[in-house]
């Protein structure tokens, strides 16, 4: 896997995976909009049986339920509000895509989904304390930050084994090894996928620059740095981390410039962990709601 054509093959193969989160950008736009767009939101949710089921289940959960049972999407949309709806949609759509069985990175089934969920939860927590990005946007950016690795694993390349065998003896970071062995890296694949699906520019910057936020365009640097920080904290927590996970370089300059402090990040971990454990059982089972 060394030519540019192979990069296109990876992107094209990914198109055949069912349940791609391609409607997320449209949902994001609608949930940011006015109440006049609620009917369109309702229609979009109704088109996806799994998503509609999760929305109804949440609307009737102990946390949201009122005396009256909610048995249609229109009522559920009103009861939950756009922020909660978007969170459910992002987790359901991305999570469903990421649990397809794939080979590579030493992952067990569902590992990338577990790790991405942890990055999303860390990102949401840091967004609330640092105000570097809107919490819902940060959550989604965490979910989708590494889709390119999933695409490479889905393509089932023996090249992944070669990368694993050459890190760390020949290459200090996983990304350097990807570039040397494949001729491109997983961040480029993530960027191509997100562009194909019409994600807004900040998400594309996250996918492409999260390894090195100092290199990100200034307009998107804050959210890219936020995901960089969230990614590293989530990696330390261990959930779903494969053979590649610890071979990435922290960008200290970007973290300092954004105001991150180690003690504050460490102090946030107990609360982050409590949130993660609502979604992931000790056995590793993922509960999307």
């Amino acid at each position: 896997m060394k030519s540019a054509a192979d990069f296109q093959t990876v992107v094209e193969m990914t198109r055949s995976i069912p349940c791609a989160p391609a409607i997320l950008p449209k949902l994001l736009k609608l949930t940011e909009g006015s109440s006049a767009e609620l009917s369109e939101l309702e229609m979009l949710i109704s088109l996806d049986t799994g998503l509609a089921t999760n929305v109804l289940r949440t609307a009737n959960s102990a946390y949201f339920a009122s005396a009256q049972r909610c048995d249609n999407i229109a009522d559920a949309v009103l009861r939950l509000g756009s922020k909660t709806l978007y969170r459910i949609a992002a987790t359901t759509l991305t999570g469903r895509w990421l649990v397809h069985p794939v080979r590579g990175y030493g992952w067990e089934p569902g590992d990338l989904c577990r790790h991405s969920l942890c990055v999303a939860i860390c990102a949401e927590a840091f967004a609330k304390t640092t105000h570097l990005a809107d919490a819902a946007t940060a959550y989604t950016a965490g979910l989708i930050h590494d889709l390119g690795k999933f695409a490479l694993a889905y393509a089932n390349f023996s090249a992944l084994d070669e990368i694993a065998s050459r890190v760390p003896d020949e290459f200090a970071s996983w990304r350097e090894a990807e570039l040397a062995v494949l001729g491109y890296d997983s961040a480029q694949v993530t960027k191509a996928l997100l562009e194909n699906w019409g994600f807004p520019a900040p998400f594309i910057s996250v996918g492409f620059y999260y390894h090195a936020p100092s290199e990100a365009p200034e307009a998107d640097r804050a959210i890219v740095t936020l995901i960089h920080a969230a990614k590293h904290v989530a990696t330390q927590l261990g959930y779903g981390v494969g053979v590649d996970g610890f071979y990435c370089d922290p960008d200290e300059a970007a973290l300092k410039a954004a105001g991150f402090k180690e003690a504050e990040m460490d102090a946030a971990i107990p609360e982050i962990l409590t949130t993660i454990q609502k979604f992931i059982s000790p056995e590793g089972e993922i509960n999307f709601i």
Binding site: Q236, V243, C248, P250, D266, I269, L273, G284
Partner: protein, 170 residues
């Protein structure tokens, strides 16, 4: 005819320990397992004479940062280890017969100011093991690997799994 080891294997049940938790078993036909330690430490405690085992999955070195708050003791090494030891003694173990093995503490690439939980955990465990006079018989820590461990409660062996590698015993 099935071998004795395969008969034992068939009867073994597995208890799973989540992050910031611990479990004890007095049943020799038990595995106590925890997944994906990352920078956390997984510490096994085993009283071979009485075949009582425990596994702690601690995330952070010290509860000091959270003084005055309600904490989950097993989340921190300095509150989790005393808790496990006292629970084991209550379950019938003798402190002087307990041996520990320690795993995890994976570290990110070199950085002076961020993401050092792995090394802080290892340093804290070393300090606590000295202060509490723990008998530590195996260290499988640091490096850049995500470890999953399983304590075999009839032998005290610990089966270690890392991504893309075969299992091994410590």
């Amino acid at each position: 005819m099935a071998s004795i080891s395969s008969l034992v294997e068939e009867q073994m049940r597995t208890i799973i320990v989540g992050v910031a938790d611990y479990k004890i078993s007095t049943d020799p036909l038990t595995y106590i397992a925890t997944y994906a330690l990352g920078s956390c430490l997984g510490i096994t405690f085993y009283d071979e004479k009485r075949r009582i085992g425990a596994l702690l999955h601690a995330m952070l070195p010290t509860a000091n940062l959270h003084a005055g708050q309600k904490i989950r003791e097993p989340m921190f090494l300095d509150s989790g280890i005393p808790r496990v030891l006292s629970s084991m003694v209550r379950a019938g173990a003798k402190k002087g017969d307990i041996r520990c093995k320690v795993f995890g503490g994976a570290q990110l690439m070199a950085t002076d100011n961020f993401f050092r939980i792995g090394s802080k955990n290892i340093d804290m465990f070393y300090k606590l093991s000295q202060e509490m006079d723990l008998d530590v018989v195996a260290w499988e820590v640091s490096g850049r690997v995500n470890r999953t461990i399983r304590l075999v409660n009839h032998s005290g062996d610990v089966i270690v799994k890392v991504p893309s590698k075969p299992e091994f015993i410590r």
